[in-house]
Amino acid sequence: MSYPDTIREQAEAVVARYPEGRSRSALLPLLHLVQSHDGYVSDDGIAFCADVLGLTKAQVQAVSTFYTMYKREPAGDWLVSVCTNTLCQAKGGQKIFNALSDELDVGHDETTADGKVTLEHAECLAACDYAPVVTVNYEFFDDMDEAEALDLVRQLREGKRPIPTRGAPLCTLREMSVQLAGFEEERQSGLEGNAQGDATLAGARLAAEAGITAPAFDPGAPLVEKEEAK
């Protein structure tokens, strides 16, 4: 098992977030952490987590295999997830997946021969208002069609980093895994990113344009009657 000191130090910082004697709570973040080093949850990664937390390898593996974000094979720099659940499918999600599958010559949870792109179909990505959606390393490319999705993966394979519709500028899956382990985003541009879009703001904009506000209130009004207050 050969992890650099930086990973060990990060592992200690993860464990320190949880109450004394509750170190097992650090397991999910630690699995993200070893994925940031290896690109997947390797046997070494499992042994490392077990060692840090005083668990058996079987206990760690039982957990790592339960969750879809822990990859069992080396993943590419770019994890392209296509939502094919009902709403996205109705709007063309499955067609997008099929087009990407043909283009990349891989199926679900498989990585291209050049090792750059991993394709997966995803269950609902909680963005039905932007259907059909694709994510790259979990950043959103909203309201896609087949041509736009093909262009997206071609750019990724050419080494370009297309700008997500919502989320931060792309970083690699390994870099993202550091954040998933609970470490802060170090790029100011990453914190900025973009969280807005027509669907997000639809109701708020409509209200603002029509001059509609919620009823006025007195922020100083007491929460409970005086005689109740202690």
Partner: protein, 444 residues
């Protein structure tokens, strides 16, 4: 990539526009509201200052009086949940459920990305009320931009004295940890979430004992949805009467209705509780051209679907229940006559089969086999008795599964069979083109 159709040619009528109630979504219009200085200019942390001026018990009484109910689907009264946590001076926790992922739901993600400090301020108030010294936010793993902005908000709030030791000189201490999940819908079930947060597979726990007495680390724990928590600062500032004045009977306040599917402008529409689908579709610029409403989910895939005859049902807790469904998370997926309810159910059941944790037999096996039956029907090989098989499977699931995931899976099946049996029969009787080739998918 995004379509611009607001305000669009078909502007909603004035009385429909007046259903809009921007409270929780108002700050979303300010692109910098995720930063502390902007948040503070927009009433940020005023509610925390106000709350700290009261005794915790008074805050709980206030929250009960406000009529605020949980926004995560079940609609449990928030004040009552806070009161369940024993006030015995021992270690206990607040856990915030931000594991949004049910098909149809899409309101927590924009909330966390655009207004993360509202979540943190709500956590500080709730933790003070239940006297919890530690709070955890369990964020869906895939929600990376939400998590990074929440982490930044915690950092900023701590530096400004809104979290940490002796908050604003009150003597109250609070640590908040943002914990990313790793991809499992079941972790939105509150006891599965606790197991996951303890570093296990996310599988639900037997109840009783309930989390209020035996929750995280077997200590008393209050679990609130992130949308529930983000509304708390607004309610504290506005007051109980104000919050109640906005909603309908037994459904106080505003609700973020998430419209998706066959409308001109899908999106988030925060309205007073009890707004109807007809009104919401009008706000969303009408149905897409050439599409007529066929069915919709009032609150995500686990709520029984409703049809065009239900467009005037006030969408609040009581009225949706009276109509035979559940308000859930007000995730309104809107499907038209060009969408097939049988295909929709097949895809949803595939979801539940994939997301079933495998702990209990009814859910693990029931969903697995229902997928097979759906694939047989959709490949043109179905038999009339398949409909009885689906109903039987649902009968063995509903109320017999270990947790709500199994119960929820049956909703679309039973409701679609009730309203759209003919659509099933069309495949079975050869009146509709099969969706797939039986040989190709290996239907049995």
């Amino acid at each position: 990539m995004s379509r611009v159709t607001v305000p669009g040619p078909r502007r909603p009528r004035e009385d429909v526009l007046s259903k809009l109630q921007p409270v929780v979504t108002k700050r979303w219009l300010s692109p910098g509201a995720w930063k502390l200085d902007v948040y503070e200019q927009l009433d940020g942390y005023k509610a925390l200052r106000k709350a700290l001026g009261y005794a915790p018990a008074d805050l709980i009484a206030f929250m009960k009086d406000s009529g605020h109910r949980g926004r995560g689907g079940a609609g449990f009264p928030v004040g009552m949940k806070w009161q369940f946590v024993p006030d015995d001076g021992n270690e206990h926790y607040l856990v915030v459920n931000a594991d949004e992922g049910e098909p149809g739901t899409c309101k927590d993600l924009p909330l966390m990305m655009n207004d993360p400090h509202a979540v943190i301020e709500g956590i500080a108030i709730a933790s003070y009320a239940i006297k919890a010294g530690r709070a955890f936010v369990y964020v869906r793993g895939e929600a990376v931009h939400a998590a990074r902005r929440l982490r930044q908000a915690v950092k900023e709030a701590k530096e400004a004295g809104y979290l940490g030791k002796d908050i604003l000189g009150s003597g109250f201490d609070l640590e908040v940890v943002i914990h990313s999940g790793a991809g499992a819908y079941i972790c939105g079930e509150e006891t599965a979430l606790l197991d996951s947060l303890e570093g296990m597979r996310g599988q639900p726990r037997l109840r009783p004992p309930f989390p209020a007495t035996h929750g995280l680390y077997q200590k008393p724990t209050c679990i609130n949805n992130v949308g529930t928590i983000a509304a708390v600062p607004h309610i504290v500032l506005g007051g109980a009467e104000w919050w109640k004045s906005i909603g309908s009977e037994n459904s106080a306040g505003t609700m973020i209705y998430s419209l998706s599917g066959r409308v001109n402008q899908p999106g988030q529409y925060e309205c007073s509780m009890g707004t109807t689908l007809n009104e919401l579709i009008e706000l969303a610029g009408g149905m897409e051209d050439g599409h007529e409403l066929k069915f919709f989910t009032p609150g995500g895939s686990s709520t029984p679907m409703l049809t065009a005859e239900h467009v005037d049902v006030p969408l609040d807790f009581d009225n949706v229940a009276k109509a035979g469904s559940i308000l859930g998370t007000t995730a309104l997926m809107i499907y038209s006559d060009s969408d097939c309810p049988v295909v929709a159910c097949w895809r949803w059941i595939k979801f539940y089969a994939h997301e079933s944790c495998g702990k209990c037999t009814p859910c693990r096996e029931g969903n697995y086999w229902m997928v097979r039956v759906y694939e047989r029907i959709l490949s043109g090989e179905g038999k009339h008795e398949d409909l009885k098989t689906l109903k039987d499977a649902c009968g063995n699931l509903l109320g017999r599964a270990f947790c709500g995931l199994g119960d929820g899976a049956t909703s679309c099946v039973t409701s679609s069979l009730k309203f759209f049996e003919q659509d099933y029969l069309d495949y079975i009787e050869g009146n509709k083109q099969p969706l797939f080739d039986a040989a190709e998918i290996g239907a049995h």
